[in-house]
Symmetry: C2
Subunit: 179 residues, 2 copies
Amino acid sequence: MPLNKQEEDLVRKAFSAKRLKKRQYFLQQGDVCKHFCFIVSGAMRQYSIDEKGIEHVVQLGIENWWMGDRESIVMLTPSKYNIDAWENCELLTISHADTICLLDQIPSVRKMLQIMEERNSIANQKRLNSTISLAADSRYADFVREYPDFLQRFPLHIIASYLGITKETLSRVRRGTIL
Amino acid sequence: MPLNKQEEDLVRKAFSAKRLKKRQYFLQQGDVCKHFCFIVSGAMRQYSIDEKGIEHVVQLGIENWWMGDRESIVMLTPSKYNIDAWENCELLTISHADTICLLDQIPSVRKMLQIMEERNSIANQKRLNSTISLAADSRYADFVREYPDFLQRFPLHIIASYLGITKETLSRVRRGTIL
DNA sequence: CGAAAATTTGACATGACTCAACTGGAGTGG
DNA sequence: CCACTCCAGTTGAGTCATGTCAAATTTTCG
């Protein structure tokens, strides 16, 4: 990422460092999301809570991932999601306005964000396809192949929720074919 | 979209017009996707086919939507999907290279694509959340609210597939609460 | 050690799928 | 205009995958 002095300066000014302790919120349901964050270290989750109080994990992230609620930040609407730290986290946060600023002014940032977008969009498509096409066991197999790291960092009930199944079903799937 | 003469020229050169008759492929599973397309008129679907020969619709599009396999076009890998015309279509196609060219050279194109990206990413997130959190009936309700147009353009068995349920289940859901 | 969190297990309920049959258009061709 | 076929949609009966609930177990960590 070749940045000259002046560009580097702009980038530094746009980001703020932030720390979260385990279980602390980055975003709470009902609030408008003001910042995106880049995870320097730690692990986070984004989830909705339904009428029955059940959490549904829409996104997991660890080092080098970005987190934030696109819909809320762009539309300026209250978020339907919570984002919190699953491990203690070091974050770099940036507002939407500053993001646009950087995008407009620094070509290499633009390239980078574009690539991120692409990856994100590809990953979403895969997950969607897997969710509508496959049974629980194959979805878990896919997950293990795509994100082996996550297995080490998140407990199984969170992974189950990410896969759209219950922790009991995941437990049975892991044991071997359901009996 | 304010474009000067020269920019307009670049844009025109980048796109090619293309017509597809109903059922004709825009992309076939196994081929590398070379172009994205903008739907001027008509309706298209993108779907995978599993081992049992069942089609799983990952994307539907009508006028003013874009279609293409991001993963294949960016990674240059054979696509896992088919994209075909559900109605006769008029398309504008553009290669990845030309897209990047336009992005780099014309700020207003960049803005536009960026907004498209945002919308797409938001829509994906919603669909994903709906798919992992909700039962068939609520998912259908969501769909009707978000995409009433699609109901007019695609038969129910395609919508069922998009929702990740069978046509029989959709039929029962539409009838009223499952009996 | 003791409490809280994570995981597993079993019995049972149920939503969704499968399969096969049937209905009702919308063409198409004789 | 009718017979014929193709496609979309509906229905019913039986089955299966996954969810629910409650309890037992294991692990983690202060």
